[in-house]
């Protein structure tokens, strides 16, 4: 699993959801969590953290947000050399087939549909870790 000092970026337009995710992550032993309220703010945070040498390791993002959608943040990250290999989890109430296909084509690591239980989130995160670990070993 990801090491306890892994730096997560949690992106959601609702503070409650960011807090709920932080609580679940805290229970898993992860406390290094940075928040952003939309895709635009998230991208700026990614750049800022990268520039100061404290780069984000994993992105957990909502889909439906003002300014920049989570799917557009995902596409932007995949086009940006510094961020394209970052594990990217979409955690969203959007659950239509076309959306999931769009996300998978865009390179999402895992797609988690709200409502979710802490256990579901934990299992998905383990899956992301295994996938990412396998990918970096090959590379």
């Amino acid at each position: 699993m990801f090491t306890p000092n892994t730096r997560f970026l949690v992106v959601d337009d609702f503070n409650t959801m960011r807090k709920a995710i932080k609580k679940i992550f805290g229970e898993m032993g992860y406390t290094n969590i940075i928040e952003a309220a939309d895709g635009q703010a998230a991208f700026e945070t990614l750049q800022y953290q990268h520039a100061k040498g404290e780069a984000i390791d994993v992105i957990i993002s909502d889909w439906n947000m003002p300014r920049m959608l989570g799917i557009d943040l995902l596409k932007l990250c995949k086009k940006t050399p510094e961020f394209k290999s970052l594990p990217f989890v979409l955690l969203t109430a959007e659950s239509e087939q076309v959306q999931i296909i769009d996300a998978v084509k865009s390179g999402v690591s895992e797609y988690v549909i709200k409502p979710f239980s802490p256990q579901m989130l934990k299992e998905k995160l383990e899956k992301v870790y295994r996938k990412h670990n396998a990918a970096t070993k090959v590379a």
Binding site: D12, D13, F14, N15, T16, M17, K19, A20, K23, N64, P66, T92, A93, E94, S95, E96, I113, K114, P115, F116, S117
Partner: protein, 164 residues
Amino acid sequence: MSAANKINIHHPFMDGVIIQSLANGVVEALKIMVNIEASFEKPFVGTNWKSPTDFSVYLNLNSDFYRGRIQFHFTEMVAKTIVEKLIGSEVIEKSEILDGVGEISNIFYGGAKTKLNSLGLNLAMSLPKPCLTKDLPKAIAETTCMLIPFKVLGEICYVEIILN
């Protein structure tokens, strides 16, 4: 009275499947996210209906066929309990309750939208807007609405559908 502010009994939104998907969206979200049981009561059509609750969330309904609004109404105790269970700590500020009911309504709507769009309704994404029930901005066709009451923690909350 114009045809615009009437919900006809034959209107697709009066369909059992649609009401059921909205109800299921709510029950499932509350069960999975915060482990709270909810049960639905008999839906009814309201005329000049005013919600007796404290907190509300409205989302614009936009599809190829329909325009309108979906609103979720919560009593203060229910809203506060849901938010506290979500974040795992006590909530004091009203702004925190508003934020929390906004997100849970987003989840209620998300599940229903997927089901409804699989039936061909083609509803667009919508950003939920929470407010105090007394501050709810008027929807255009407000005279008639469809109401689905649900019981949570012993109190009645509502899903309201307004169609233009």
